[in-house]
């Protein structure tokens, strides 16, 4: 079938991230494109990440006149997991544009998985729930054979039945052998435009990769609409091959490994470092991990050997009481120890912080300032607790939510439930903490920086 793939997530509709201009191709959508193409379909691509208007999608529809319009979000990018209202509005416009051309419309992504009926009401014909590649492939084959009357047997979809009732088919199990998927269809996007933007704003160029899918941990605020608590990883050798290909074709200065948790399997990081060495590939990368996993023997050393340049930890809070309430499963001591280890191996450290979790007091917030002072992370990212559907946290505060249930954009920081303080407090706290962290780093002596994280609890 002649298919056009696009995404509702437009970076230009997310002011903070548009200004940061850390622009990554929609990797998940490129996987979907590759799968359909391998199945023999004619696939075209509209790249919303770099677009500056939804008109780009409309123009692609006009140019290609596809039988099928697929809006497939990049599920690897945390920005799509935020289910922002600006993107939902864009989706509505895009679905209407596609319907106007007579195309069938399929939607896949975190927000559509959370609220499929909303997208069906916008005019979508089918919503894919959760991980989408195999569902999409089967769905397109079924549509080609028998149209919308022939899709009831496909797992993992929601659609309106002939009587107008919403039909949700059984959930599809996550794909275990993700090495079996083809390489993302990199050729369908214009990498030179990404390179230009990166160079102009940052003086370097970064590309992205995913080595695993999902996260088995159970932080009770974390939404997992795509993979649930399943976790599947690709082989270190395959990833090393892909690093080699990206180095050759894209020539990036650094890779962002988009996994929720990089190298979670015991021994994976060491195997990966060895596989890169065998292939003589040297390509720095940044990634995310957990403090407890980093303390496994030889883990940080293996990451450094593989080329890890920057590692982000979901530190969340400087209060153990809050970490326990979140069911984070890590301790402050582990954060301190992991930070020290990373710095000793020359890896830059990033902390994700979260304010406003129920029960957090001013004393807890001051402990977070202390966490920063002790550890002096090189970079921090701050958010406030955001109740997304499907999480225990969301269920707990559900009766406090008003009509606004999602953020408009990533910098909204609206505390949508009755939190410890008002939203205005957190918006100032967000700015203050960034300044504080910068000030702490600037006034620390080199010795303090080298031994950051050395403390007793």
């Amino acid at each position: 079938m002649k298919t056009l793939i696009g995404q509702a997530y437009h970076l230009y509709l997310d002011p903070k991230n548009w200004s940061n201009m850390e622009l990554f191709p929609p990797l998940g959508s490129l996987y979907a494109a590759a799968v359909l193409r391998e199945a023999g379909h004619e696939v075209h691509f509209s790249d919303s990440m770099i677009a500056e208007s939804t008109d780009v999608w409309a123009a692609a529809l006009d140019a290609e006149r596809p039988q099928l319009a697929v809006m497939y979000e990049d599920n690897f990018n945390y920005l799509t997991k935020m289910c922002l209202l600006n993107m939902r509005d864009a989706a509505q416009v895009m679905i209407a544009a596609a319907k106007k051309t007579g195309a069938l419309v399929i939607v896949a992504g975190s927000d559509a998985s959370d609220v499929p009926e909303t997208y069906l009401d916008f005019g979508a014909d089918v919503v894919i729930n959760g991980e989408g590649e195999i569902t999409l492939e089967q769905l397109v084959a079924a549509l080609e054979q028998g149209g919308l009357q022939n899709i009831q047997h496909i797992e993992g979809i929601t659609f309106f039945g002939s009587d107008g009732a919403v039909i949700k088919t059984p959930k599809r199990r996550s794909l275990r052998d993700i090495d079996s998927l083809p390489m993302p269809a990199w050729d369908l996007i214009d990498l030179s435009r990404y390179r230009e933007k990166w160079k102009a704003h940052h003086g370097r160029f970064e590309l992205n990769i995913a080595t695993s899918r999902g996260c088995p941990f159970h932080c009770n605020w974390c939404a997992k609409p795509i993979w649930g608590r399943a976790y599947n990883a690709r082989s270190p050798e395959k990833i090393a091959d892909e690093f080699a290909i990206l180095a050759k074709q894209g020539n990036p200065d650094r890779i962002w490994v988009m996994d929720d948790i990089f190298a979670m399997k015991p021994g994976w990081a060491r195997s990966f470092a060895n596989a890169l060495k065998d292939r003589n590939v040297q390509l720095p990368f940044k990634c995310l991990s957990r403090a407890d996993l980093l303390l496994r023997k030889g883990e940080v050393e293996a990451l450094a050997d593989a080329g890890c340049q920057e590692l982000w930890i979901g530190a969340e809070s400087g209060s153990q009481k809050i970490l326990d309430a979140m069911e984070k499963g890590t301790s402050l001591q582990q954060i301190d120890d992991a930070t020290r280890l990373l710095k000793q191996h020359g890896i830059r450290v990033g902390f994700f912080l979260q304010y406003g979790y129920p029960g957090e007091t001013w004393a807890d917030i001051k402990q977070t300032f202390g966490l920063l002072r002790r550890n002096l992370p090189d970079v921090i990212g701050i958010s406030v607790s955001y109740p997304l559907p499907g999480t225990p946290f969301h269920d707990r505060v559900l009766d406090q939510l008003g009509s606004k249930k999602n953020w408009q954009h990533a910098d909204d920081l609206d505390l949508m439930y009755r939190g410890p303080f008002k939203t205005s407090f957190y918006r100032v706290l967000h700015r203050f903490t960034h300044r504080l962290a910068r000030y702490q780093r600037g006034t620390a002596t080199p010795i303090q920086r080298d031994t950051a994280g050395k403390s007793n609890h």
């Binding site: 941990f217 599947n232 399997k265 406090q400 407090f425 100032v428 910068r438 600037g442 006034t443």
Partner: protein
Amino acid sequence: MREAAGTLRAFVYMVPLWAQLHVLRVTSRPGVTPIDPKLSRAAAGLGAVDLTEGK
């Protein structure tokens, strides 16, 4: 030199934000959602995550 200027700028911006933060802290309503100890995974009798789960 550039780093020192950045640090100084951070301090200069920090002071009014600190004052603003305290005004908002005092005028903001304190929390109404206490931590539910029953949410604790250990209390719920659930085990630790199995790292060998999945492929």
